[in-house]
């Protein structure tokens, strides 16, 4: 056992605040790479964190358990057999019999079973996984599982589905297995359940198996779990070699799952009930699609199934709280396209681009440009320009650093309009997830690269969530932040390329890579921007006052009500009474309105300053001092570069004058 033990972790959909500390500990104590660990700890399924001597893995397991990660230390069982191909089934009241050409498998009632519904081609998974996960999160359907099972089942059936059924012995070890392909077994043997659809017959087979099963689990996650030997390769329809390889992977996966299930340490009522609930949902969605759409009924059945376990509901709520919270959040708004052609930055950028393009063009066609550039360098002009660039950049950064240092941090409850600095935890307003790692975040920026013909990486696309507002909250309240046009410094950066490095088992091409920067939901964020009153339909008080007084003037009946001395005229004192009444009425209106709009979040938004040149900074940082520390280093670097470039420029100039 010693050298071949696996440490498999149940992944989490989003990082906890303790995650950095855990990664640090894993790196310092066990020499595990923090970046890789993070990739493996986050996701929706299980992942092999590391393998090695059991004694070492036990310690790592203990560390992970301290951080509330559920993990399993297993010794993978050697594959003793592969499933045989099903040709027909027979069943009576006591048992279900799967019959193949040479073998058969008898499943007595209440047997322990593991059922795997998988898709073999991989291409369908690759194409739709990301989109499905995002839309699932945004639309918020499905309550007991991290995956949209109904959609997932549909995808599997649309591709090349296969069904593996494993009979487990008392110890939980595989005792026999059968594999069913749609249309490849005698569907008439299903009896009344048989349909004309091959895929439906596969589902009916699951339904029949379920009737005979005792403790069982339906697993549809093959291909998305980064487990050893269980990779799903993209296979063309006629690529039998790849399909066979995927079938072997599925067998590996099934045996690993049996090992994981067996090694789960004394399952708590919570996890057991969760498994049952998840299984129930999977089965319901697989067997009865109509039930999947009838959520109340589905809940009722699940509740019935889990009724014996008191902690079920509580656990499920805790486990899915992250998802449940996202379900209540609205879908992020679409990017509003603004014309940026007239912004100075764009004009300068275009001018530089056009200038460089012209120089390159001229350089190829004329004989004077090359010598001119050489002269520019040897005379120190080019290094002089570089020095000026570094100098101006350093100067701007120094200004920003001092502005940050000189601006006191406001409490959110009492922020005044105008330039303001706040620091607190960022919270999502919308169900925003990072596109590659699928982590709940308040901001992301994704840059994709492709390899060109010269084997260089070229940016192929840049996407960001820079238009999606979020909250920032401190101990006194929370306020909305509109990050459009902000300079965002994300605290986390992930990049990946090739297979096996994405969170879901590697579907990316080796000719593509991506870099994802993000600020997690709940991260400590610093904001320097301009507080503005949120636009409302409500008119200003003075305007409403004037309107109310005008209405009194136009209403003779109301007006006569203020004629205290009944002389047919409204004198100054009488009109003052009318004004007081209107003021009082408006005050009550405002007070009742402020009852509804008590919170700062309803009244104020921090966004882009109206004056050009005023900075708008959003940075993930534990403290302002750390942020300014980074700016100090960058400023020093820029000034040093400016000094060196100036020195070089001067030296070149003097050399050329000699």
């Amino acid at each position: 056992m010693s050298e071949d033990a696996y440490l498999i972790v149940d992944q989490r959909s989003s990082p906890s605040p303790e995650m950095p500390a855990l990664l640090k500990e894993l790196a310092s104590r066990y020499d595990l790479d923090g970046y890789s660990c993070r990739q493996l700890l986050l996701g929706q399924t299980e992942a092999l964190l590391t393998k090695g001597p059991e004694s070492k893995l036990k310690k790592i397991k203990q560390t992970l358990t301290n951080y509330d990660f559920c993990c399993h230390l297993i010794t993978p069982s050697p594959l003793k057999f592969a499933p045989f191909i099903l040709t027909r089934v027979e069943f009576n009241t006591n048992e279900l019999k799967f019959i193949g050409r040479e073998k058969s498998l008898v499943v007595p009632r209440d047997s322990k079973l593991l059922i795997f519904l998988a898709e073999l081609s991989g291409s369908l998974v690759e194409r739709t996984l990301s989109q499905i996960l995002s839309s699932h999160r945004y639309s918020g359907n499905g309550e007991n599982s991290g995956l949209p099972l109904e959609k997932w089942r549909r995808i599997i059936l649309q591709g090349r589905p296969v069904l593996d059924i494993y009979l487990l012995d008392e110890k939980g070890k595989p005792a026999g297995a059968v594999r069913a392909f749609p249309g490849k077994f005698d569907h008439q043997s299903l009896g009344e359940r048989a349909t004309l659809s091959a895929n439906q017959n596969l589902l009916k087979l699951i339904e029949l198996t379920q009737e005979y099963a005792g403790h069982h689990r339906v697993d549809m996650r093959f291909g998305i779990s980064p487990l050893p030997g269980a990779n799903l390769q993209t296979a063309e329809a006629d690529d039998l070699g790849a399909l066979k390889k995927n079938l072997r992977s599925l067998t590996h996966y099934a045996w690993l799952q049996a090992d994981i299930d067996r090694q789960r340490e004394q399952p708590t009522p919570d996890s057991e009930s969760e498994t049952i609930a998840t299984t129930a949902t999977a089965l319901l969605t697989a067997m009865q699609p109509e039930l999947a759409t009838n959520l109340p009924l589905q809940k009722e059945i699940i509740s019935e199934l889990t009724s014996g376990i008191d902690a079920a509901t509580a656990s499920s709520e805790v486990e899915t709280s992250g998802v449940a919270r996202s379900q209540t959040l609205p879908t992020p708004p679409d990017l509003q396209h603004h014309s940026t052609w007239n912004s100075p930055r764009t004009i300068i950028g275009i001018s530089i681009f056009v200038g460089i393009a012209l120089l390159v063009k001229l350089g190829n066609s004329t004989s004077w440009l090359g010598p001119m550039l050489a002269k520019g360098f040897s005379s120190g002009a080019i290094s002089g320009l570089l020095a000026a660039f570094f100098f101006i950049s350093g100067f701007r950064l120094l200004q920003l650093k001092r502005l940050i240092q000189n601006t006191p941090t406001s409490k959110i409850r009492s922020i005044a309009m105008g330039r303001v600095e706040v620091h607190g935890n960022a919270r999502r307003q919308y169900a925003l997830f990072s596109p590659m790692t699928n982590i709940a975040c308040i901001y992301y920026r994704l840059v994709r690269y492709k390899r060109n013909s010269k084997n260089d990486w070229v940016v192929s696309s840049i996407t960001s969530s820079g238009h999606v507002p979020f909250w920032i909250e401190d101990e006194t309240g929370r306020v909305s932040i509109d990050p459009s046009a902000a300079t965002v410094k994300a605290g986390h950066r992930q990049e990946s390329m090739g297979e096996g490095s994405t969170a879901f088992g590697g579907f990316s091409s080796p000719d593509e890579k991506w870099v994802e920067e993000m600020i997690y939901d709940g991260a400590l964020v610093y904001v320097l921007g301009e507080a503005q009153v949120k636009r409302t339909d409500r008119a200003p008080r003075l305007q409403r006052r004037a309107e109310a007084l005008r209405r009194i003037k136009q209403d003779s009946q109301k007006l006569s009500g203020y004629d205290a001395n009944k002389d047919g005229k409204i004198d100054e004192n009488e009109w003052q009474t009318a004004r007081d009444d209107v003021d009082e009425q408006l005050l009550h209106e405002d007070l009742s309105q402020s009852d509804q709009q008590k919170r700062q979040e309803d009244k104020v938004i921090i966004g882009k300053p109206r004056h050009r040149g005023t900075p708008f900074v959003i940075a993930e940082t534990a403290s302002e001092a750390k942020l300014t520390g980074r700016y100090t280093l960058a400023t020093a670097f820029l000034f040093a570069a400016a000094g060196l470039a100036s020195g070089l420029s001067l030296w070149l100039l003097l050399q050329s004058l000699k």
Partner: protein, 189 residues
């Protein structure tokens, strides 16, 4: 040759020094104006509180027939705010008003009907909210003043501060009386 290099180095150092001076000077100006703005922002809140007090008193009058003294104290304090001239007088008047308001809210405990009144609840909540915000903004002023005063004494800012006569600002200070423990008397007056 060496002479030119030394000269170039000097020009560079002088340029850097001038730029740094500009940054520091502009920083002082920005901080000074920021402190002024923060004070004005407090005034905005105080004005809001001032405007809403007559309504509160009006609501209270109907219920607190036996507390004329307390109500009059609030009215007097409010008048003192509008009549105060210098900054110090204003500060003292605002503090006094805050104090009388505290007394008023303490006395209100004896009038369940008044406490149940919707208008009173709204007004008292609003005034409490304003008081909290005023306190926060005072803290903000103190933070801004502290940063400014620290800068005045730091090197190299101190050189620019002395050169351009930037002087230190006063922190918002609480009356010594307010530092004492509050004694609550539950007996009726």
């Amino acid at each position: 040759m060496t002479g030119w290099i030394v000269l170039g180095g000097l020009v560079l150092i002088i340029t850097l020094a001038v730029v740094y001076t500009i940054v520091i000077y502009n920083g002082f100006i920005a901080m000074k104006n920021s402190i002024e703005r923060d004070w004005s922002n407090i005034d905005v809140m105080l004005k809001q509180r001032y405007d809403e007090l007559p309504k509160l008193i009006k609501v209270c009058e109907g219920y607190m027939q036996h507390e004329q003294q307390t109500l009059e104290a609030v009215i007097k304090a409010r008048s003192a705010v509008s009549n105060s001239g210098s900054d110090n007088q204003k500060l003292a008047a605002q503090n006094a008003l805050s104090e009388t308001l505290k007394s008023l809210f303490m006395v209100v405990e004896r009038y369940p009907d008044l406490k149940a009144d919707k208008g009173f609840r709204q007004l008292s909540n609003r005034i409490t909210e304003l008081e909290d915000q005023i306190a926060d903004r005072r803290e903000l002023v103190n933070s801004a003043v502290t940063i400014y005063n620290t800068r005045l004494e730091q090197f190299p800012d101190v050189i620019i501060a002395r050169l351009f006569n930037f002087t230190s600002r006063q922190l918002w200070k609480i009356d010594t009386a307010h530092r004492q423990d509050v004694v609550v008397n539950f007996s009726r007056s």
